[in-house]
Amino acid sequence: MSEQGGPLVAVIVFPGTNCELDVVWALDCAGGRGELVFHDVSDLSRYDGAILAGGFAHGDYLRPGAIARFSPVMDGLRELAQAGRPVVGICNGFQVLCEAGFLPGALQKNAGLTFICAPANLKVERTASALTSLCTQGQILENVPINHFEGNYTADEATLRSIEERGQVILRYCGPSGDTSEEWNPNGSANSIAGICNEAGNVVGLMPHPERAMEEITGSTSGRPLLESFVESARQSHGAALGVK
């Protein structure tokens, strides 16, 4: 954190990332300061946290995130994550974090095989995470945009059971009154999972775009509590010791 302003957040840019400026702007709305960091940078020690923005890293060739996981910036992200600083992947960033092994499971093609661009309602299932600490358990976040072809969260049965038992699901798709049944599942995700975290709660991935739901003019302000939680988490982790390289 600098002398002035909120915590300093690295907004990671791969070739093909396209949501980075929205994220920087949204961080500003939430009281943080986002700085664009290209994927060839491996030292992120000056940042209080990081967000992997959405888009099509390395063109999504082979599988979304498959090539991005070998970028130098992944070393810096691993150090931030191990130090307990918040690391959040949005949409394509979530796919990258899964491919890189930061988070369990994988994102598959949507069940209906269509690209989905639509508002979704999300239910907060866990508040002990870098993205939901200012939310309340069971809170419904209305009309957060989803915008993806490969957002269908999947994992083998043992992994699914494990993340459910450990409470690693932070957000599920739901109806207007919080119903998380299949009826409200837009993309076929296992257990209607929209977002998960690691066991510590500081590494988070989600398919919806909170950075596009910050002001009424774009249809929803439901992204605010999520990114405000992130900024608060970055503020608290400021100065958390980084592991020895």
Binding site: F70, C98, A106, Q108, K109, N152, T154, A155, G188
Partner: protein, 87 residues
């Protein structure tokens, strides 16, 4: 030695296959009934060099683990075909 290598990548048993499901549902509409368990995978072909077939196979398997397949949801098979000595 140079060898043509074919990598077959399939979704693991139990992982939902949206493409396979869509194809399976559309075939009867075209009059092709009596089809079930449609699965869609990926084929990656390459020409690889190595000391011998075993070395080539082990290198390609390492490539699969690192990049070509996602071991979280996919299985793979490596086949060396049309091996050409000195080719």
């Amino acid at each position: 030695m140079r060898s043509k290598v074919t990598v077959l990548i399939r979704l693991k048993e139990g992982i939902l296959d949206p493409q396979g499901k869509a194809i399976e549902e559309s075939l009867p509409a075209l009059g092709y009934g009596g089809v079930e368990s449609v699965k869609v995978g990926k084929v990656i072909e390459m020409i690889a060099e190595g000391a011998d077939a075993a070395e080539i196979e082990s290198r390609v398997r390492a490539m699969c683990d690192a990049l070509l397949a996602n071991p979280v949801i996919e299985d793979y098979e490596v086949e060396l075909t049309a091996a050409r000595e000195g080719g």
